[in-house]
């Protein structure tokens, strides 16, 4: 686990809200945080290098940029769980797949180029596994993003 000092916390808390879209964003951040911009970038690079930060860059709402997505689940009999996990692993449209402790014990995200692609993939999974897919596309987004008080 990474130990953060006071400067790190202020820096990460500030950056969780995004780099300002001004001509010289690091200058603005430097004056907000009262620290030289070189120090800010150097510390961010260290936090990226050691894995505390996973990525610096634009965070896209990929659905607005084309493509279709859904959250889906399966209720998989325990003795077939690993087999079905391997079957889903082979399907490129399956982005994330988690075991969750519930009657619906396998939860995954599908990402395809078109809405029809989602239906085709669900059909493929149902045919492959003989299980019926619970398809839960989002209807309204209320919130995305974490603002941890670090």
């Amino acid at each position: 686990m990474t130990e953060l000092d006071d400067f790190d916390r202020r820096l990460l808390n500030r950056l969780q809200h995004g780099l300002p879209l001004v001509r010289h964003p690091w200058q603005e951040l430097a004056s907000e945080l009262d620290a030289p911009q070189e120090r800010i970038r150097q510390r961010l690079q260290e936090l990226l290098d050691d894995g505390t930060l996973t990525r610096f860059g634009p965070m896209y709402d990929i659905e607005q940029l084309g493509g279709a997505f859904t959250l889906a689940a399966l209720s998989v009999p325990e003795e077939r769980f690993d087999e079905v996990a391997r079957q889903l692993d082979q399907i490129a449209a399956v982005a994330h797949n988690y075991r969750r402790e519930h009657e619906y014990n396998m939860w995954f995200v599908l990402a395809t180029a078109t809405p029809q692609g989602i239906l085709d993939t669900i059909g493929e999974i149902e045919q492959l596994t003989g299980l019926s897919v619970l398809n839960l596309p989002k209807e309204t987004t209320y919130h995305v993003g974490l603002h941890f008080p670090l």
Partner: protein, 168 residues
């Protein structure tokens, strides 16, 4: 938010995404770096970013913390059966809790009664239980049932990419 982006901006955004999929370098002038890739003037690149951010296609340009490395190792997908006539207000309010990372309305199905999803994060199992309790008290009489699905194993995790050929 959510103004539609123009077809030409959509094309530019897709190029932008291809250049920044792995992130941006921490250079002195990040917009000039992007402008070089996009083969656009810096001012146009910055204006494009502003339009994409205004429309919601870019949420923000930010550093993404690895929650696990920062101790936030516990998370739970809380799901709630909320009155349809109150869900939009309550969904917004639940999304405003600082420990909620994602909050969506999803359809009910036969055998699935929950229409509000909120992903909660915390430093311990007890903490996410407390968070869940805060949400439950906030929803009050407008929620008929709820449960929490805790993930016990990551079976597959790839970045979200758009696959044009689902039958690969």
């Amino acid at each position: 938010m959510s103004d539609c982006i123009s077809p030409s901006d959509l094309k530019l955004a897709q190029r932008l995404m291809s250049f920044t999929e792995a992130g941006m370098p921490l250079v002195d002038d990040p917009w000039a770096w992007l402008a070089g890739r996009m083969e656009l003037p810096v001012e146009e690149t910055l204006a494009l970013l502003q339009r994409l951010q205004d429309s919601g296609a870019i949420r923000r340009i930010a550093a993404v913390p690895n929650h696990y490395r920062l101790g936030y190792t516990f998370n739970g997908m809380t799901v709630w059966d909320v009155d349809d006539e109150h869900i939009d207000r309550l969904g917004q309010e639940v999304g405003n809790f600082h420990f909620v990372s994602h909050c969506y309305r999803r359809p009910r199905r036969e055998g699935w009664r929950y229409n509000l999803f909120a992903m909660v994060h915390g430093l311990s199992a007890e903490e996410i239980e407390r968070e869940r309790d805060l949400v439950r008290r906030h929803l009050g009489e407008h929620c008929r049932a709820d449960t929490m699905l805790v993930s016990s194993k990551i079976l597959k995790k790839t970045g979200l990419r758009i696959h044009s050929k689902p039958k690969e």
